[in-house]
Structure formats: C-alpha cells, structure tokens
Subunit: 423 residues, 2 copies
Amino acid sequence: MSRRRTAAVLVTGSEILLGRTQDRNSGTLARSLDAHGVRLERVVAVDDREEHLRAALDGLLADGYDLICTSGGLGPTHDDRTVAIVADATGRELVLDEPVLAEITEIVTGYAAQRGVPVERLLPGARKQAMVPAGAHVLSPSGTAPGVIVPGATTIVVLPGPPTELADVWGRALAHPALAEILGAQLERRILRIWSTPESTVARAFDQLGGDDHGTETSICATRLEVEVVVRFPADAREAGNRLADGLVAEFGDAVYAQDDRPVEQRVVETLIERELTIGTAESCTAGMIAARLGSVAGASATLRGGIVAYANDVKTTEVGVPAALIAEHGAVSAEVAVALAEGVRARLGCDIGIGVTGVAGPSGGSEAKPVGLVHVAVVGPKGAVETLERRFPGDREAVRTNSATAALHLVRLLLADDAIRA
Amino acid sequence: MSRRRTAAVLVTGSEILLGRTQDRNSGTLARSLDAHGVRLERVVAVDDREEHLRAALDGLLADGYDLICTSGGLGPTHDDRTVAIVADATGRELVLDEPVLAEITEIVTGYAAQRGVPVERLLPGARKQAMVPAGAHVLSPSGTAPGVIVPGATTIVVLPGPPTELADVWGRALAHPALAEILGAQLERRILRIWSTPESTVARAFDQLGGDDHGTETSICATRLEVEVVVRFPADAREAGNRLADGLVAEFGDAVYAQDDRPVEQRVVETLIERELTIGTAESCTAGMIAARLGSVAGASATLRGGIVAYANDVKTTEVGVPAALIAEHGAVSAEVAVALAEGVRARLGCDIGIGVTGVAGPSGGSEAKPVGLVHVAVVGPKGAVETLERRFPGDREAVRTNSATAALHLVRLLLADDAIRA
C-alpha cells in the first residue's frame, strides 16, 4: 500500500474564536478526507488577524502535510483575508480572474435584484472575491466566493466559510485533476454502534480482544446514548480488523444495533418505509424534536403522517385524547400519560405507530418525586406492541430534550425489531 | 489597562478528526474566555495519538499563551492520554489522588448499580482517571473524569470532553484561585443583529464609519439569515466603540432587530410571556423544528400551548382545519395554505398567535412552479394581524428547514412589533 497522504484543515473566523458561530466545516472535510483515504491530522482555528492566520498557515506548511484545506475568509468584507495570505505565503501574486469575476457579477446582480439592493454596492466586493493567486486553479463559487487550488509540495485548497458553499466548492475540488494524486484508496472500516452500554465496558472488551495491535486504528466514542466503535484498516490488515469487529459483535450481541453510519432516525424511517408502516408523534418536553428528526430524513413523508406538540395539559386532552383524569391522577410526567399520548396520537392520526414523550426538561419544574431530567417515553405499535422507557437524564434542558428524543427513536427501533408486529 | 491575557484551546479526539463527532467545547470555552477578558487566539484539534497530542501541546506551550485549556482524552479508555501527556510535557510525575479516587469510585458504583453492570468492571477505569500530575490542582468530576489545573508560566487547565461535563468542570476552574491572575476585566461590547441585509452592505457601512481605526475590534458574521456585528472595545475606546455601533444602528434602522445575545426564539418567547400572549405552530416541512425551538427556551410552557406537525395533507385538514379544497386549488405549498395553517392552529389550540409553514424541503418533490427550497410562512395574531413571507432558500434539506424555522420566528417578532396587536 502506498503511503497514506496527510492533511490539515485551517479554519479562519474571529466569530469562531469568540464562540459566536460554530465551525461545521472541519467535520465536513474530515469525513470526506477519511472517505478518500487521506488522514486528517490537525485542525487549527484562528481569528481573522492577518498575523495569526499567516502564522498558522506557515506552521502547517512547515509540518509538511500533503494537503491543507482552508475554510473561511473569502467574503467581500474587510476581515476576509485568506486568499491574499495564501498567495503571499506561497510567493504568488494576486491576479484578477476575469471568468470568475463574470460569474460572481452575474450572481450578485441577481441577488441585488431579488433583494432590492443597488448592484453597485456589491460590485467592489465581487471584484475583491475574483482576485486569486497567480497559477492557481479556480473553483466556481456556490455563493459568491470562488475556491482556489494552489499547487505545490503542499497543495492548498482555499474554500469559502458558509457550510453549504464549502460543501459545494469542495465537491468541485474533489473532482479536479490537481487533487488526483493526493486522494487515495479508501481505508476499509467496520462501524459498530452499541446502544445503552458504558464506554468503559466497550473499552475493556476492546482491550481483551487485543486492541489495535495488528494494524487497525480504532476509535471508541460515546455520544447520544450510544457508543460508536470504528475499526479502520488497510486491506492487508483486513483479517485483524474483521476479527476485532466480530469479537465486539459477539461480546455485545443485540446491543450492537447498527453496523453503518445512518443515524437512528434514518434507520427508523427507512425501516418504516420498507414495511409500509406510518408513524406519528405526541410530544411534550421534546416539543417537536422527534418529529423534526424523523422529518430530517429525505423521503420521510412516505411514513411520517404528523405529530402533536402537546405542551399544555389541556392540549394533551383535546388534541391527543389523554383523559384529564389520567393526568390528574398520575401527573403529566408519568408512564401512564406517555402511553396515552402514544396511543392517542396513533388513533388520532391513523398511524401504525405512535410515540409519546413527557418529561421534566428543567431547569425549573422539578420536584422530589419528579426531578428535572425524568422522562417517560412510550411507543405503541400494531397488535398491542408497546415499548416504554423511564430514564433520568443528566445535563441541561437541551441535553435532557435531545436524549429524550434519541431514546424515543431507539424505542421505535426496538419495537420494529419485535417479530410480533411483523405481518 | 493591563495586558490582555491570551489563551489557546487544544481539543483531542480521533472521533473529531474523523468527523464522527463535532467539537462543541471550544465554543463553550471561547464564549467564557471572552466574557472574562481573555483573548482566545487559537484552537487546535488533534487525534488521540500520543505524538500528535504531544506535538500540538509543545507547539502551544512554545507560543507562550497565558492559558491553555485542553478538552477530552480523560476517559477510562485506551485512547485517553491527555493527563499523562500534560504531566510529561510539564515535567511532572503522575500521582494517584486519593480524594478524587474516592469521589470517582462512588460515582461509578452508583452508575453500575443503576445499569446492572458489575462495578468491578469500572474500577480500573476509575483508578486511571484519578491519576493526576504532581502538584496540580484537582477539580471534582462532573461525570467520572476530574479536571486538573497545572500551574506554570503557561497555566494548563485539563478538562473532560463530554460537553456538559466540560461546562461543569470549567465552571469550577473559573472559581479556582489558580486562575485568578489570568481572568481579567471584561471588554465592553456592542452587539448588533441585522435582519435580512447582505453582509457586504454591512461591511461597506462599517468601512465608511471608519472601521476599527480607533481601538475597537469588530467581527461581522452572516449566519441564520442575519448579520451579527460585535464591536468590542476597552474602556478607553468606549467613545469610538459607541460611535461605531450607533452609526450602524442609524444606517440600518429597524433592520437592527436586536442589540444583545439572545437567539430569536428566546426574544420571541420572552416577549410573548411579558405580553401574556400564547402561541401555537402548524408545521409541514419543518416538522416540529419551530415548536422545538420555542420549547428550547426555559419557561416556554407559559406561552407555548403546542403545535401540529401536519406532514400528510389529510392531517392538515383533519387536525388543523385547512380545507381540502384549498389544498387542491393552490397546492400544499402555497401562501394560502400557510395562512390557513396559521389561522387553523390558532383557532384549534386557542392561542393568540398561530404560525403556519409549508415548503419543499427537498431533495425531491420540487417542480418548475414549486422548486426545492420554496417556502411559505404565515403568522397570524389577534385583531387580524398577519405577516407572511415567501422565500426560496438555497442549500440542502437541512438548510431549507432550518432557515424556514428561523424565518418563521422572525415573522413572529415582526408581528409582535406591530402596534396594532398591542392591547
């Protein structure tokens, strides 16, 4: 096998260093580089100051990566300096690229017309964005900022900061001949996603199976109520990689709920569509998060009929048919109400499967009997199939709600795995 | 004014470099450091390989920051090496901290009992997590991993990776005397959030007002349909900072919709509560995202009655009362149906304000007349007040849905600004 190529990502943006916006681009690039056999070794984020960006770029150039991808700093504003700094660091002049200027001008002209802004205001920015290092390959813009590929001992790919623009322009870079030598053969990998098992238990099993001693690279990551194990290996370590992965599957059995990348909502939606089952939600504390996650999957309309966000108690009664007496007797946060929500929405929307969630998201509203973080989830399916879960989630309001939604989606998965509901 | 202290954040985790999980901790630390007058100059992320983490740490130590915060690599698993590497890089032995071992043992014992796992399996991990650099200050764990503060010319604060744990343990670090010398006076700042204005227009106004020539530091960031400007300044540049911010307010008038940090959903919920108005949602393409964002605000139950996710057309009719004939005539994605959704949910749930959203989220389902990204939003309030918006959003399914939800929340804000609906 040829040498693995290495890469670094340099993210620029004062707003990131101030914590005012979150970098999503390094993750996009990380996944793509991994898929193309390139090892991402470092991500550096700096603010927009010229000296900071330059120092970081010089440092990464000195490290000798095969590829550096930069994200951000291509806009029309005063603090967008990436292209000029890359040109300077690689000893190239900045030159106006007429074809891309024409492209950008057309884009901003349309934008100005749509928004009722005089186009003259946008033209200086367009011209600034069309300046590229001499000899660089220009990648057409997705928004108004083109990307550039600067060839050299280290190839530099300069990409715009807005995430959808970056993804588009990076897609063009991947197809460009200038990157052909860097993008290599994909490592093989086995993904295991293990539900409701402590990370330390998984780590212990990994160690007992011999760990990464035979040419594999494994990451173990606890996130969203699951532990994700990725065993990565070159073709010549395939046997070791499969032995390790199969050993973990044998150890954890049914808790290994997935061996691929799809998020739980995607698995659930795809299974529902495949089985021609419909679903609906009745959510209290999650207030629509579960429906929104189901709806995030392309094609969800074939299974998701809808949902009720039943935040106020009387809405639980009038819109989902939860008896007011049941709420009075057990409280809104109770297993009984969770089941009634699931059954109610199933009947109300005429779905095969209903989800009900109720809990105390906090920070206030908790009591000794029903503390913040207490959540009841119920999933009701055909033929009387029911899955329920009571958990007390740690963390803040957002963590409680997100984990509740994730748990509900897993309950649907468990219900779908139940042979009893199959036709 | 004394010298601004500087900081770097070092994030470790192969799962981040592989793009399998997203780093949220650097943002948490960035906002906190900014609030304490410390200038975060660099964020570096590396995988869990000892040599990569060590090289990054050595590089940051050589850069001479006053403070380095590390995130991650404190778990009980084989690839968690941060504490040992920090000890080595600072020439300290690793020693067992008995008090924190007792703390961790108590935590994992409770955890094991709750989950039905033999505690013996967790004890080796607990012992590993209780090893700290000699002479370091130990910060009690939030999960099972304690933090440590290693004093020196550069103070190093070692923090756990799980976001809620990091936030907790960092809170303890902030209160620790060992950081007292580093945390300084807060910079003053003016925040302006400008709705629906091109970033380049804002940048041009900024430049015409003289830019950062008088001791201010300004960031201009376009995100979520808005441009956020933060003008930051020390006390001795207060006049220049206010002149700049006031100049932008004068230039953009009502488009400057906020001068603080609160997300639009928080502003909306707080205003609704203050005016004793209730709200409900009827969502098609966003499938619960708007309700979920309203529900993300602590105390939302005082205004959010609930919502209907009306994904299937017949659910729009049966649950929200949108006439089937209206859908047949105009199509589900139409201004008429958006208004009918908003009016319908307002009547159905007995709210003061109803939100209706319908659109083509994609990737399929678009047509020439109704392309992917086309979204209609309507907000209906008391006294016949209505706000509507038709937009074609660029980007993928997630971008279309997220922007639709943001636009809907802004429409509520605009409706609330309308004097006509005030009592």
